[in-house]
């Protein structure tokens, strides 16, 4: 049911395989948190409250990726109970760092970590939420950006679809007046193929972008890779640079696999 009159919209925050950093971003909105709770009812957010109310919910924020059969079932239930479902973070939009298993043998992973690997229930892949259920909006980042989160919450509460820049980090970097770390400094950088949104943090710290926000809308990784090679990256290094926190995002996955065959 849509909220009526004085009734506040009901918010739920869900965790799947993740580090908790993206839901923590909500608690890190120290200036806005109490004002926000005047406007929404936090109905389910176990990390913050021992009061866990049943659905349905007007808005669900979903953190994490799908890595177990239980999670694959639970996300269906979350979707059924949620009027809007917005994913937060790279785990939810691209499988997260735990998607490195998608390129390896899960049984050998289990044996590496656990003495009794047979007792561990885990799928062979880590997959994004949108591979399981329809998602209303994906907020990118590892972790997400606080201002973007507040903007998306506001839009959702007004029933508006959020629009965030999908262009590459280069635009953000240029507007911030940062000298290009790759052209001027010879530092490999994923900025040309990574979605903007972090505030060009790494280039502002004399570091190449490492792709936290995943591929930009028109990411031309095939054009970037030869530049990275000229800066000294060999094929294994190219595989690794595309294969971190957004390893299972299609553009990054395809590019890493192309260099694995080199």
């Amino acid at each position: 049911m849509p909220p009526t009159g004085t009734e506040r919209p009901r918010l739920a925050v869900w965790k799947f395989a993740s580090c908790d950093g993206c839901q923590l971003t909500l608690l890190d909105c120290e200036d806005e948190l109490l004002a926000l709770t005047d406007r929404v009812e936090i109905a389910y957010f176990p990390e913050a409250s021992s009061r866990m109310l049943d659905g349905p919910y007007d808005l669900s924020l979903v953190e994490g990726s799908i890595t177990t059969a239980e999670e694959a079932e639970r996300i269906q239930d979350v979707r059924r109970q949620s009027k809007q479902l917005i994913t937060i973070g790279a785990c939810a939009s691209a499988g997260g760092i735990q998607a490195l298993r998608n390129f390896a043998d899960i049984e050998s992973f289990k044996r590496t970590v656990y003495a009794q690997p047979d007792t561990i229930e885990s799928l062979a892949t880590s997959t994004p939420i949108a591979s399981q259920v329809p998602v209303d909006f994906e907020l990118r980042g590892c972790p997400i950006n606080k201002s973007q989160l507040l903007y998306v919450l506001n839009q959702a509460l007004f029933g508006q679809r959020p629009t965030l820049p999908t262009h590459s980090l280069c635009g953000e970097c240029k507007r911030a007046g940062v000298t290009c770390v790759m052209v001027a400094g010879g530092t490999p950088c994923l900025g040309p193929v990574t979605q903007a949104g972090c505030g060009a943090l790494c280039p502002r710290h004399n570091r190449g972008c490492y792709g936290c926000f995943g591929p930009s809308e028109t990411a031309n990784t095939q054009a970037l890779s030869p530049h990275l090679e000229r800066l000294g990256m060999d094929p294994p290094a190219l595989v690794r640079i595309y294969r971190t926190f957004n390893a299972a995002a299609p553009q990054f996955q395809a590019e890493s696999q192309a260099h694995e065959r080199d």
Binding site: C19, T67, C142
Partner: protein, 434 residues
């Protein structure tokens, strides 16, 4: 099944609230005695120790930071120190001081979160801090200000609060200029005042009477209250180099949990975190923190895990005062980072995450590829101690209602500020009665 046996009672907490990550508790009572208490970590495994194999040694800090969004600085710090040990390099003192300043930010932020948003609602009788804010607005606002000051410090040095981007093996990508650091000074000064008020406030809370003779383990350093450096110190008087961690503490895998459990080689549970640090390093706290401890009446070793909220607040005072000192004495390093060339070998390091000692151990080859990784987070170590605490809580109260036992156990677990994402390789509470 025992569930149908009228003498068996099973009590279950399916999803622990106000802890970081996915855990549960399972309690089985048969004929009025506790038959089993299991802290279950059902947070799905993410296989960090496997996915690190084959990665470059310089990638370990950023990758392991993703184990935990609440204490990423701890992962960054343990990883850089372990890799520097493997490569046989030591950055200059100015880099080390900047690392301590960054860690101060994480202690303020993480303790600020746990004290006010996760732990305090138990003492004041609310479901959460937001509910508590209606009756205690100034307490909660003070907590939010503290947390924010810690976050601002992490952001200033690390680039962002969660998963900072400025830390690298050998130092930092960019060292802040002196005047950039001075900008935050007034804010940390205000935070010190808030921290002192918080410590005095939490010291007056009613604490359940509960004490156990814990074996505490923490870093110990001759000059500092420990963050990045020190040797392993045990409360039975033993001290040893961090390199000997695995000679003394061993991991086992309980089939009901995704967290490996750690005990001493002799089978004893150990307790890591604020109580342990305080027990072994009290006289190296900053002056304002010592004064706060004196006012709280904590003159000696504290064995009550509920009082951990007071020691966390005292550690926030310490972290604020230390941060001010580091800011005042800051001279940027000659180079933000030293060059680090890999060599075949092993390196390990332990640093003090807000919730306890975090140990990393890597083996790398001569090209810098990671051959093996072992990460032992404090929550995995504390898991056995938490289960023993639960037993001692429940055993005398087996006739209490399921609801009472559930609340009792959840509170006892929160004393440890458990970080389940970290420990998975870690937590799930059910109670079964027979």
């Amino acid at each position: 099944m025992s569930e149908t046996d009228p003498r068996t009672r099973t009590i279950q907490v399916d999803y622990l609230a106000r802890v970081e990550g996915e855990g549960a508790m399972h309690l089985r009572i048969k004929d009025d005695s506790v038959e089993a208490i299991e802290l279950r970590i059902f947070e799905p495994p993410r296989y960090f120790e496997a996915l690190l194999v084959g990665r470059d040694f310089r990638e370990a800090p950023d990758i392991t930071a993703r184990i935990c969004g609440i204490c990423p600085v701890a992962y960054l710090m343990s990883a850089v120190h372990a890799m520097e040990a493997a490569c046989g390099v030591t950055p200059e003192p100015a880099v080390h001081q900047l690392r301590r300043l960054l860690y101060c930010g994480e202690w303020i932020e993480s303790h600020g979160l746990h004290i006010h948003m996760l732990h305090l609602p138990d003492f004041l009788g609310y479901h959460d801090a937001i509910e508590a804010a209606k009756d205690h607005p100034e307490v909660v606002r003070r907590g939010l200000r503290l947390k924010q000051a810690g976050n601002a410090l992490v952001e200033l040095i690390g680039g962002r609060e969660i998963h900072p981007i400025n830390v690298r093996v050998g130092g930092f990508y960019r060292a802040p200029k002196r005047d950039e650091l001075l900008v935050i000074r007034p804010r940390i000064e205000a935070a010190l005042q808030d921290a002192i008020e918080t410590a005095d406030f939490v010291a007056q809370l009613p604490f359940p009477e509960f004490e156990r003779a814990y074996l505490f383990v923490a870093l110990q350093h001759p000059d500092h209250y420990p963050m990045n450096l020190g040797q392993l110190a045990f409360s039975d008087g033993r001290t040893l180099a961090v390199e000997r961690f695995e000679d003394v503490l061993v991991e086992t895998h309980a089939p009901y949990s995704h967290a490996l459990q750690t005990r001493t080689r002799e089978g004893q549970a150990v307790h890591m975190g604020p109580l342990a640090r305080f027990a072994m390093n009290r006289d190296r706290l900053s002056p304002a923190a010592q004064a706060a401890a004196n006012r709280a009446g904590l003159t000696r070793v504290c064995h009550n895990p509920y009082a951990s909220i007071v020691i966390r607040a005292i550690e926030v005072v310490h972290a604020c005062e230390t941060a001010l000192q580091l800011i005042d004495g800051y001279q940027p390093p000659a180079q933000p980072a030293i060059d680090v060339s890999p060599r075949a070998g092993e390196g390990c390091a332990a640093t003090e995450a807000p919730r306890g000692l975090l140990y990393h151990h890597y083996r790398i080859d001569d090209a810098g590829r990671i051959e093996s990784a072992q990460i032992i987070p404090p929550t995995a170590v504390n898991q056995v101690t938490i289960e023993e605490d639960l037993y001692q809580h429940v055993a005398p109260q087996v006739h209490a209602s399921d609801e009472e036992l559930r609340n009792l156990c959840e509170r006892a677990i929160r004393n440890y500020d458990p970080c389940i994402s970290c420990a998975t390789h870690f937590l799930d509470l059910r109670v079964e009665r027979a």
